[in-house]
Amino acid sequence: MTEKAIEAKKKGQKKSSEDYTYVGMVFHRLTRHKLAMAGVFMLIFIVLFVFVGPLIWRLDPNAQIEGLNGLFNPASRAHPMGTDDYGRDVLARMFFGGRISLFIGFASAITSTLLGAVVGLVAGYYGGWADNILMRFTDAMLSIPTFPLLIALASVFGKGVWQIILVIVVFGWMVDARLVRGLVLSLKEQEYVEAARAIGASANRIMWRHLFPNTLAVLIVSTTIGIGGNIIYEASISFLGFGVQAPFASWGNMLQNAQQFIWNSPRLIIYPGLAIFMTVLGFNFFGDGLRDAIDPKLKL
């Protein structure tokens, strides 16, 4: 392939689609998807903001300025986003709150997708009563109203980052399970699965080495879009007061805190709100673009 590529370069030809590996091809198609690229730039901006920002702006997000003069300060050189009701620097809190929000979004999306994939693989591959039990359980989980139960769970498990992740995973895997099951139902009829059985491969091997990699493309899309959704979810939970607890910041509990001062200091609600909006929009754009890029039938 390298010789061919060099030869093509000499002739000044453009790479044809056959010269790419699968990942290379998806990447190439993604770069031509305008919305996805907009999403990517939004996400790069957010990630830089959240991870590089604190290296430059070294204020403690939980430190309070003593005295009444420190509260509700408008934007100034000392505090570019002002201070909040406890006299804490809003910019520093935005950095650390973003880290928490992103971490919860990523961790819960990946875990819930994996959990869903396992359930879907087992249900789809074995079929029969295993499929029936697992899928009816999935249906049952989908019909539980989340928020009332959440409030109940918060009183049992306590409140915090890990508890939020747990809750999002427990209530978030069902859609992925259905997705994977559907895929597996069609994939397992493929001849390469039969070939694997003819070789004597175990069910585990077939599921993880043959079926799972072929669902990966769809799962990556689902995870990407899931991250955005889960950040919103975290914000909602925190907004209700059952999420990340003070003094630690998350974009969600910054919003919650700010709602009392919405008329006096609207910026306290605008900054975290805008950050959540941008992140979620970025992940949704990127996820949509990824979905288009892996669909070989779409010309991009």
Binding site: Y22, E191, E194, A195, A196, I199, G200, S202, R209, L216
Partner: protein
Amino acid sequence: MATRLVEVQKLKKWFPIKGGVFSTTVASVKAVDEVSFFINQGETLSLVGESGSGKTTAGRTLLKLLQPTSGKIIYKGKDITKLTPNQMRPLRRNMQIMFQDPYGSLNPRMPVGDIIQEPLDVHGIGTRKERKQAVATMMETVGLRSEYEKRYPHEFSGGQRQRIGVARALIINPELLVLDEPISALDVSIQSQIINLLQELQQRLNLTYLFIAHDLAVVRHMSDRVAVMYLGKIVETAENDELFDHPLHPYTQALLSAVPVPDPEVKRERIILQGDIPSPVNPPSGCHFRTRCPYAMPICKEQEPLVIEVAPGHTVACHLLTKK
């Protein structure tokens, strides 16, 4: 006397059709219906017949990729019909299959080297280094450059993919190889390459083939013995030349008359069968072929013809011959 490698007795594979409120079995697709044949060590038995005659199902049931409804599969004198998938696993080393579809039979997410190596991994043969070496050797054997092992299946042509399929099947040194229409999805020029490769490998590795095909010219070229299937039944079995020179069953005769002869001077009588192959859900009573047979008699409707041996190794199931 050649030794029998595998023998199938009254093999039956019915696929239930579920229906009704309680998904009870309302009917069955009788894909393979009491089929008996054997394959000797080192020979090629061809299974021919038109689409829907059950030849592929017969091949897969033989390998126990499908659980037979009834009947017996005897491999090297051992009844393997009732073995569980776990008990079958060590036997899978000896019996392999090569598939028809060069696109569907290779996992698109696996590099070719891994695909070929997988049987070794599954059966835990050799060290990691030995496996890699075996893969490289096998790739060269089937005519692929071993540098290609990191590539993915979509980077290969149909013929190359079939070579990969052969390599995967042969890397664990099987004795029996079921070739499930290995060439019908390929271009004619590539077909001959694959056929020659298969023949060469058979001689070199002393392989036994069950060759499932509908291309009669290739069948004549490849096989030692031929079995003709129609609607789930074997209607005629004979040595290669015997079958092609003296076909006795009307269906075999019709089938052979459809083979084009590369000589415009030759005038032959074409037997053109009327209608389609009947549904295997509800096959005709008596002889399955009677609805399309030019010689159908009243008895064909009432009785199923018995398999009779008309010459050594030549068996036919037809009332025309029973009467004599």
